[in-house]
C-alpha cells in the first residue's frame, strides 16, 4: 500500500482517534515503513504526545488544524508511504475535506450507545459521499472490555446493519496511558505486549484492505 492517506475520523470525541492514529503510525514506522501523522485536531493531542520523551519513536508529526490539512496530506503522501490524518472530534470542514482526499477511513467507536449514535452520523457522511467520493471505510471497536457482552452485541449489530467492522479491536488497557506518559505507544515499549499485538492486527487488516482496494482501482482504470 504505497503512498496512501489514511484518515482516522469520527465526530465523537474521546473515541480513541489520536491513540489509534499514533499507534498505527508508530507500528508502521517500526516495521520500516515511512509513516507520518498530520494532527488536524485543534486539541493537538499527538503534537503534545510527540513533545514527550520518546517522541513517538521519531514519527514525523505535522500540526495543521486548518481547513487545508487535506492539502498538506496530498503534499506529503509522495514523500511517505503512509500519511495518517488525525481529525477533530466534532464536525468540521477540515475533516470533510480530508475525507474527500483519503484512501481509507478508520472510524473508531467505543461500544456504547452514545458513541455508536454519533458515529452513525459520520458513517452517514461516508456512505452518502464527500466531495463526490465514497471513501472505503471500516469501523474499529476501541476501549472495549475484553469478552464483554456489549462489545459483541454492538459488533454484531453493526455488521447486521451493513457497516463493516474490523475483526481486530483495541481493548481498553492502562498501557496506552502509561505509554503516553513517555510520549510512546505500546508497540514502542514492548513489541510483544498484548496491546502491541492488537495494534499489529489492526494494522495488518488495514494494510490488507488498502492493498486490495488499490488493486481494484488499478484494475478498473487499466
Amino acid at each position: 500500500m504505497a503512498h496512501s492517506i489514511i484518515t482516522v475520523a469520527t465526530m465523537k470525541g474521546g473515541s480513541g482517534k489520536s491513540t489509534l492514529a499514533s499507534c498505527l503510525a508508530v507500528h508502521w514506522q517500526l516495521k520500516g515503513r515511512r509513516a507520518a501523522i498530520i494532527d488536524a485536531d485543534p486539541q493537538s493531542t499527538i503534537v503534545r504526545l510527540a513533545a514527550r520523551e520518546k517522541a513517538l519513536g521519531g514519527v514525523p508529526v505535522i500540526e495543521d488544524a486548518t481547513d487545508d490539512a487535506f492539502k498538506t496530506a496530498q503534499r506529503l503522501v509522495g514523500e511517505y508511504d503512509t500519511v495518517i490524518i488525525d481529525t477533530p472530534g466534532f464536525r468540521s470542514q477540515a475533516t470533510l475535506a480530508c475525507l474527500g482526499v483519503t484512501d481509507f477511513v478508520l472510524v473508531p467507536v467505543k461500544p456504547s450507545p452514545f458513541d455508536v449514535d454519533r458515529m452513525l452520523d459520520t458513517l452517514n457522511v461516508l456512505i452518502n459521499g464527500v466531495s463526490g467520493r465514497r471513501p472505503v471505510f471500516r469501523c474499529v471497536l476501541t476501549q472495549t472490555t475484553r469478552d464483554s457482552v456489549i462489545a459483541k452485541h454492538i459488533r454484531s449489530e453493526l455488521a447486521e446493519a451493513g457497516f463493516p467492522v474490523l475483526d481486530s479491536e483495541m481493548t481498553n488497557r492502562v498501557v496506552y496511558a502509561e505509554a503516553a506518559l513517555w510520549g510512546a505507544t505500546p508497540s514502542l515499549l514492548d513489541k510483544k505486549s498484548p496491546a502491541a499485538r492488537e495494534i499489529a492486527a489492526i494494522a495488518d487488516e488495514v494494510t490488507h484492505i488498502c492493498e486490495s482496494t488499490t488493486h481494484v482501482i488499478r484494475a478498473a482504470s487499466a
Binding site: 464536525r91 470533510l96 449514535d117 447486521e160 446493519a161 451493513g162
Partner: protein
C-alpha cells in the same frame, strides 16, 4: 450468543442511510426542544436560523409541545367517539370532547375558559366555517342510518372526527399562542 438481552444499539442501517441521502433524522421525541435548527442537514448550503417566538423561548416551545400533545390525545378520543354506532349521539359526544380539549388548552395557556361560549365556537367551526368537513361528518353520520354499510360509516366517521379535533385544536393553539382569550370573532375569522 448473548446471555444478557440488550435493546438495539445501532438505530440506522447502511441501507436506510443510502435511501435517505444526507437528510437528517426528522423525528425527535416530545421532551426534546431544538433551540437552533440543525445545520448539519445540508453541509454545502448555509441555513439561517429562523427565530420564531416559539424557538427563542424554551418555556414557550415546551408549552407548545404540550399543547400539541393535548390535541393529539383528544384527536384520538374523538376518533373513538366518531366510531360510536349511534347516529347524531356521536356528533354530540365529539362536540363535548372538543369543548373539553379547548378547556385543557386554555388551562395550559392560563386563559379564562367559558364553556357556553366555547361550545358555540366549536359548533360554529364544525358547521359554518368548514362546510365541506361538516358535510363529510354529516354524511358519515347519516350513513349510520343505512343498514349494511355501518362498518364503512363508522370508519369514515371515526377518521373525520379525529381530523376535525386536530384541525380545531391547531386553530386554538395558534389563537392562544397569540395571547388571546376565547373570543368568538377572531377564531371564526381564521
Amino acid at each position: 450468543m448473548n446471555k444478557k438481552k440488550f435493546p438495539k444499539a445501532v438505530l440506522r442501517t447502511a441501507e436506510q442511510m443510502r435511501e435517505a441521502g444526507a437528510a437528517p433524522r426528522s423525528e425527535s421525541p416530545d421532551n426534546v426542544i431544538e433551540m437552533v435548527p440543525k445545520s448539519e442537514a445540508a453541509p454545502t448550503t448555509t441555513i439561517a436560523a429562523q427565530p420564531t417566538a416559539a424557538s427563542t423561548d424554551p418555556a414557550m416551545a415546551l408549552r407548545r409541545r404540550q399543547a400539541v400533545a393535548i390535541v393529539e390525545r383528544y384527536a384520538n378520543y374523538s376518533a373513538i367517539g366518531g366510531a360510536l354506532p349511534v347516529p347524531l349521539a356521536n356528533a354530540a359526544a365529539i362536540t363535548a370532547l372538543l369543548v373539553r380539549m379547548v378547556k385543557s388548552l386554555s388551562d395550559l395557556y392560563g386563559v379564562p375558559f367559558e364553556r357556553t361560549r366555547t361550545r358555540s365556537i366549536v359548533i360554529a367551526l364544525m358547521g359554518g366555517a368548514l362546510p365541506t368537513g361538516f358535510a363529510t361528518i354529516a354524511t358519515s353520520t347519516i350513513s349510520l342510518f343505512v343498514p349494511g354499510v355501518n362498518v364503512l360509516g363508522l370508519a369514515v366517521s371515526s377518521v373525520t372526527s379525529g381530523a376535525y379535533a386536530r384541525s380545531i385544536g391547531q386553530l386554538f393553539i395558534e389563537h392562544f399562542e397569540n395571547g388571546a382569550a376565547v373570543d368568538f370573532r377572531s377564531i371564526i375569522k381564521r
